[in-house]
């Protein structure tokens, strides 16, 4: 059972940030869908609801997604359906159910760097940056690789470009968490291959991406870069699947992802 001693609903990010650093067990609340799973003892729960971070905007060359935006908003957003072959809505649409996706937030998912995250896998295949209140803007890839001092994730920025993308996931029951997730994208012949739920968090298969980008995209090339992705990334076992099975699926899904991107308009 989790407990919350105090609740703070700050009116500025600075106030939220100060509170976060007030006590080691002070915590920023996300959608709270996973709060009950643990037995966290929170001294001050910092609720960002008043900071108006629930939005998707497209002011110019970027899509801007506020941290408190729910998965359901991503799923139903008209522009996101058009961009990148709808890879973002596609990635979140199989997660549990509508009432769950109306709860969970983009910010909490990205900040928590969940291994099983469908969304992270898709985001990483795009030109995504995160904004931390103190840490500033940085590429999502860097954010995922490094550890940072406690901060508040405020926004995501995604380059609005002609990137073509495909999202693939392997699930047994279709509302289950994934056994493996894959996102593949291409822009100006530069490819990105991302593999998540390994069960470790989503990671760019950089060698495979590089090899594919420099290839002629023959069946053999595709096969080879799928194999490269399997080789360069590490895979583990959990109750949803063994490392061996995940490796095999990685190869299959990467190939499918590439093929789908090649067929994209």
């Amino acid at each position: 059972m989790f407990t919350i001693e105090q609740v703070l609903q700050p009116e500025t990010l600075e106030e939220a940030y100060q509170a976060l650093h007030g006590n080691i067990s002070n915590t920023v609340l996300g959608g709270c869908a996973f709060l009950r799973l643990g037995s966290k003892k929170i001294a001050t729960a910092i609720d960002l609801s008043e900071l108006k971070l629930d939005y998707i905007l497209e002011p110019g060359k970027e899509i801007e997604i506020g941290a408190m935006t729910t998965f359901r908003t991503v799923e139903t957003h008209p522009t996101l359906h058009q961009l990148f072959n709808g890879v973002l809505p596609k990635s979140v649409s199989n997660i549990i159910g509508v009432q769950f996706r109306n709860v969970v937030t983009v910010g909490a998912t990205v900040y928590s760097k969940y291994g099983f995250s469908d969304l992270l896998t898709a985001l990483l295949a795009l030109d995504t940056e995160v904004e931390l209140y103190k840490g500033g803007r940085l590429p999502l890839e860097e954010f995922l690789q490094k550890s940072f001092p406690k901060d508040i994730l405020t926004r995501l920025f995604i380059q609005k470009n002609a990137r073509k993308a495909s999202y693939q996931s392997m699930r047994n029951s279709l509302s289950d968490y994934p056994i493996l997730t894959i996102a593949v994208s291409e822009l100006n012949q530069r490819w990105r291959i991302v593999v998540g739920a390994r069960p470790l968090r989503a990671q760019l298969a950089s060698k495979a991406s590089e090899a594919l980008s420099n290839s002629k995209l023959t069946a053999e090339d595709i096969e080879q870069s799928a194999s490269l992705a399997v080789e360069e990334l590490s895979f583990g076992s959990n109750i949803r699947g063994s490392a061996e099975y995940r490796k095999a699926m990685c190869k299959v899904l990467v190939k499918r992802g590439i093929m789908e991107v090649l067929q994209c308009k």
Partner: protein, 756 residues
């Protein structure tokens, strides 16, 4: 017939669907203590010391109870007619804890928060033992799960405590080894069935309090109010007459609530404190600390002659009952009981094996009750035999299955009263498109589609043991009250039984008040389990209705001053020559003035047979050859449940059972860690099928007429869960040549199988 055979809505349908407060927790009195259980973190340990002083001293804590506070009388929580075949192997709380999640202490406090805070203050020192986690080696394990001297059995079930064997069983007719040796074709395979969870939406819960005379009242979401009363009487050492058990609406049971998982904990608190108490298990506790299906290993050998007649059948079983023996022997016996009589061209059949204790959550009753396990193993083996004989598996079955009027080696010398199973197969083949689709079709894009099949039987009630009663009272306004002890857990049995009463009494459903169940008011009924309610309680209702009807005619003859022979009754009016009287008038006069008699009809019924309902199940799947993922496209179930009393409710029963069977087949994996902690302990980790997982399900009925059943009816509740696992396994095999013998059929198993 006016009511039998009509797809009427459930009497309670609108109220329960719209969220009215009619379930156990909704009926909690004010100021009720909240009961929480401290559970064992160890799979096998002895409590050396337990210090509850700090917890008990916390403000708001009413009591903290340990093994020192409970009667030293062993009992079973299995809901079975006395004398129960399940061993008496548990105390309310024991000094030895036998699985991760076993009860260590009972904490009651003014609210949940306080109880949980108190729980953290209970200090327990354990002596940890080496647990028995693998049921296949339990009999040789040096640890003895139940070393106690006072473990008792009501009947000989072949208990060998020191070897962790709770039950040994053999039933052989003819000489199986000799017959197998003479067969032209023999197939042999070993199958594993997992410990499926019931996963009913309403978790286990009970509320207890003392009434105005100091009697203990327990309101519980239970399938077995009368058995719970008897269990409580023994466990708490109270006369049963001092206990009342009330069953309100139930949010699903599936056999789980045929075991008294929680009532005793709330009741003990009320007994100790005099205060109302409630216990509501959360989902994790429901997964880890109640019961599941018995996991089994079943080795099947089938022998046939060249013509394709099955001549010998042998099933050797090993069942894992976990830490306690609830339903251990009976579930095990049912494996053979509900499979061997299917194929009756045999010359010898045998079912034998053992049930073992392990340090895991106890198994118990779950829809299908052993028949599910047996059907998976037998039907997979029959499909394998068909391949070896180069026969269509449907043809092999049509040739070998028992028919109405016939007998079988393992059918107790009786003749089968009703069956349309052969028609069910023909109909199912037609619906699924067997001729065109069997065995497989390449779809391109690495996808292949295939079909598979299985058949099954169950029973209807427990022959010679379970006996149900019903009462029908004619009320002062001319309406009736039907009193039942059976427990509608969502199935619609209250409605179905009312339909039967209305049919006999030639009245309308709104003239019948159904009341169930309350041990102070209801006539005795073992409860709703073993597919008994439509068949056994149904016959009791028919008898009770006939009884009250004949009393009405008798009373009518008195009032109209004539003889019984002269009186006709059409449900509303009594006629005798030119004289008549309305039922309403008769009812009014029956309770007015001297020398009158309020009319009550009684019916009690127990059957000496348990007529099997049948299902022929057909699955069409698409398998992704690159990933091993099986997608179920279509499932056809053709059912013989005798006369269908309510086609709408029967159809939903079938669809629900099929989907639960699909879960067993494809999704519901059970995993423990190396220390015996259940990992699949939530809906997040234990996946029951969701809406997207089931494809299309089509149901058809081929009615038979069961001579011993009410209006020719048999049961339907359990038999419907049995065919999906073997039929889907067959379809997957036909698709990609991988025979998955260990459920569930996950993409990984299929994929790995394809790599071999």
């Amino acid at each position: 017939m006016k009511y039998v055979g009509k797809g009427l809505p459930k009497l309670d349908g609108i109220r329960i669907a719209t969220g009215q407060p009619v379930y156990t927790e909704d009926l909690t009195p004010a100021n009720t203590l909240v009961v929480k259980i401290l559970r064992s973190p160890h799979a096998f340990a002895r409590i050396k010391t337990i210090d509850t002083s700090q917890a008990a001293a916390l403000e708001g804590v009413a009591c903290v109870l340990t093994h020192q506070d409970v009667p030293k009388v062993r009992f079973t929580l299995a809901g079975q007619s006395y004398p129960e075949p399940s061993p008496y192997d548990r105390y309310i709380l024991d000094e030895i804890v036998r699985y991760v999640g076993d009860e260590v202490a009972i904490i009651a406090a003014v609210d949940e928060k306080t109880a949980i805070r108190a729980m953290a203050l209970v200090k327990v020192d354990y002596e940890v033992f080496d647990p028995v986690l693998d049921f296949e080696t339990a009999a040789e394990h040096p640890s003895v799960v139940h070393p106690e001297a006072d473990l008792a059995c009501n009947i000989d079930i072949g208990l060998q405590q020191e070897k962790n064997i709770v039950c040994s069983h053999i039933n052989e007719v003819g000489d199986v080894e000799q017959e197998l040796a003479q067969c032209d074709v023999v197939v042999e395979e070993t199958y594993y069935i997992q410990a499926q969870a019931h996963a009913m939406m309403e978790t286990y819960r009970a509320v207890s309090y003392l009434d105005h005379t100091g009697r203990l009242v327990v309101t519980s979401s239970t399938q077995i109010p009368f058995h719970v009363r008897r269990q409580l009487a023994r466990a708490l050492q109270l006369p049963a007459s001092r206990i009342r058990v009330i069953k309100p609406r139930i949010g699903g049971g599936f056999g789980g609530k045929q075991t008294g998982c929680v009532e005793v904990f709330a009741a003990l608190v009320t007994q100790k404190t005099g205060q109302p108490a409630k216990i509501v298990l959360d989902r994790r506790e429901t997964f880890t600390s109640t019961t599941s299906r018995h996991a089994m290993r079943l080795k099947v050998r089938i022998g046939a002659d060249k013509e394709g007649f099955i001549r010998a059948l042998d099933i050797e079983g090993l069942s894992d009952t976990g830490a306690y023996g609830e339903h251990a022997p009976t579930v095990f016996w049912v494996v053979g009981e509900k499979t061997l009589p299917l194929y009756n061209k045999t010359r010898a059949v045998r079912y034998h094996g053992q049930v073992v204790y392990t340090n895991k959550m106890p198994a118990g009753a779950l829809r299908g009750y052993g028949a599910t396990q047996g059907t998976f193993a037998l039907e997979c083996a029959v499909n394998k035999l068909a391949e070896k004989l180069n026969l269509d598996p449907a043809e092999l079955r049509l040739k070998n299955l028992i028919k109405e009027g016939e007998t079988a080696l393992a059918y107790h010398g009786k003749r089968l009263g009703s069956s349309t199973l052969h028609q069910c197969i023909e109909k199912g083949k037609e619906l699924i498109g067997w001729q065109e689709k069997y065995p497989r079709k390449e779809m391109g894009n690495n996808k292949v589609r295939a079909v598979g099949m299985a058949v099954t039987m169950q029973g209807s009630g427990i022959a010679g043991i379970d006996t149900a009663s019903a009462e029908i009272r004619l009320n002062d306004d001319g309406s009736y009250t039907l009193l039942l002890g059976s427990t509608d857990m969502g199935t619609g049995s209250d409605t179905i039984l009312a339909q039967m009463a209305a049919e006999v009494l030639e009245t309308t459903l709104d003239q019948i008040v159904v009341y169930a169940a309350d041990t102070d008011i209801s006539p005795f009924d073992p409860g709703s389990y073993a597919s008994s309610t439509t068949y056994v309680t149904g016959m009791a209702v028919v008898k009770a209705a006939q009884d009250v009807k004949s009393r009405i005619i008798q009373q009518g003859a008195n009032f109209l001053e004539t003889t019984v022979e002269e009186v006709t009754f059409d449900g509303q009016l009594l006629h005798a020559g030119d004289k008549s009287m309305t039922l309403e008038k008769l009812a009014e006069l029956s309770i007015l003035g001297s020398g009158k008699l309020q009319l009550v009809g009684h019916g009690t019924y127990g059957s000496n047979v348990s007529p099997p309902p049948y299902v022929a199940g057909f699955a069409e799947v698409e398998v992704d050859q690159e990933t091993g993922k099986t997608t179920l496209l279509d499932y056809v179930a053709v059912v013989d449940c005798g006369t269908v009393i309510n086609p709408t409710l029967a159809r939903i029963q079938v669809e629900g059972g099929i989907v639960q069977g699909i879960g067993l087949a494809l999704y519901e994996d059970v995993k423990y860690d190396t220390k015996g902690t259940l990992l699949t302990n939530s809906f997040m980790q234990y996946k029951i099928p969701c809406r997207k997982d089931i494809g299309n399900i089509r149901v058809a009925f081929e009615e038979s007429h069961e001579p011993t059943g009410p209006f020719g009816a048999k049961s339907i509740g359990e038999v419907v869960i049995n065919t999906p696992a073997p039929a889907i396994a067959h379809a997957v095999y036909n698709a990609v040549g991988v025979s998955v013998t260990k459920l569930p059929i996950t993409p990984e198993k299929v994929f790995m199988g394809m790599q071999k």
